[in-house]
Symmetry: C2
């Protein structure tokens, strides 16, 4: 999917919500056991949230854990999402060049995702193979939403620039704002002002709203740009809004409420 | 597998060679097409190298790219390796805590690998879930063998300590030398002296000998410790030693020659 189409989807829906499809058997309602159960759960969540979501982001860990059947569920989930939404394989891959090429092939060809998340630790040649696929995107971890982000992402170089800023600066030069996005966690909204100075045009994928405690309005204050430029993800707060038989209605209600808040922000 | 048993295997074989099982259809001999072909290729390589290898390391990218069947090949390859070798899932995973737990479950339970490689960018909570499985290991990227390592791993903090040294120092404290190893590339052998000062007891997984140009004797000069403390990986130089029908004999010859060099070094 190209940038123009992504922006179109967001504007049509009045929402830049990304729904994380992280089906965790320990948190799911009864009656959705096994690989078939997970696919049925995903379909129910997609049906319930489709009008309110601009993007879907399956986290690959939750599919891998099921063995080969999990990858069938992943493929069937992607098919069920269809063409009307931007899709993100949240895989956080990254390896030497010839290996990253195989990962790119997996997520862009074996599965037809629009984008894949990549960890930057191994540098340019671990990211570049993802950039040679037309209308596909790489989403690079910059500043993550978890507590462990403090361990290495804030190490400052001689110019007092933290590692995550080096990632933004260098990686922005490897691709363009038409094929590269960055992950920036909602749990550190005070960082968005500085980040927008480095990457004013790039889309940012923002996890951490909802279960992790980030605030949508705080993120938007500095995060929005003239093309919206944000995909804000919620996973657990939508998927597990209820563990009873009304889980899909509950998911719908949470997604709708986030989308309405987004719509208001976009209309300001 | 615990540390004592790993050391026993290395000493019995007189080899600390890890054979990387990265089956790339573009490089494999004719007659090994498709998922079944890859499994047959892996079995031939394992048969040919078993006496000379202490460990096997399938790189997950090459299996993922095949879709669900690739994960069946991975499982069957792991079964074929059996109990006599240390196994490493080269997956370079890493995510927030609840997701890393799913990855750990995948590689330690769904598949019974002894260890998995993990990228450190997301910090402590992305690594810790891998450390709670008895006799399982996490292998953390510290200084990688590729050119892109220069981009972020050498950024120096206020004490002139590069990021990869911070990774060694912090991550060594998350676990112990009984459940944590580090990836250090053979392409920078001059770094091993400093690295051994930070992690004298840990096993190091060393890629980059062979196709990537690293030297075994250079790595060993400072890398070896009293428990050997090294697993040196070769993938392409063994797997693709020949593209003809003699590929297995050619693989055996390369593996044997590396193992003999290792044996000599160990007997010094």
């Amino acid at each position: 999917m190209n940038r123009r189409r992504l922006i179109e989807i967001i504007k049509e829906k009045g929402s830049f919500l990304c729904v994380g499809l992280d089906p965790d058997p320990a948190k799911m309602p009864e009656g959705f056991e096994g690989a078939d159960g997970i696919l049925a759960f995903n379909r129910a969540i997609i049906d319930a949230t489709r009008p309110f979501a601009a993007a879907y982001k399956p986290n690959i860990a939750f599919y891998e854990a099921l063995g080969p059947k999990g990858w069938e569920v992943l493929g069937a989930t992607l098919d069920y999402i269809g063409e009307g939404h931007f899709t993100i394989a949240d895989a956080k891959r990254g390896d030497i060049g010839n290996t990253s090429r195989m990962y790119a092939q997996t997520f862009f060809e074996t599965y037809a995702f629009d984008s894949v998340t990549v960890a930057p630790y191994m540098g340019s040649d671990s990211v570049q193979p993802f950039l040679s696929f037309p209308e596909k995107w790489v989403v690079i971890l910059a500043l993550t939403s978890n507590a462990g982000a403090d361990d290495f992402q804030f190490i400052e170089d001689g110019n007092s620039s933290p590692v995550y800023e080096s990632v933004l600066r260098k990686a922005a030069a490897w691709g363009t704002s038409d094929n590269t996005m960055f992950v920036v966690g909602a749990t550190r909204p005070e960082m968005f002002e500085g980040i927008r100075k480095i990457v004013p045009d790039h889309f940012l994928l923002v996890p951490g709203v909802g279960a992790q405690g980030g605030s949508l309005s705080e993120v938007c204050r500095y995060g929005l740009n003239s093309d919206v430029g944000l995909l804000v993800n919620a996973s657990r707060s939508i998927l597990y809004a209820s563990r009873e038989s009304d889980f899909a209605e509950a998911a719908r209600a949470v997604a709708e409420s986030i989308a309405m808040e987004m719509n208001k922000i976009l209309q300001k």
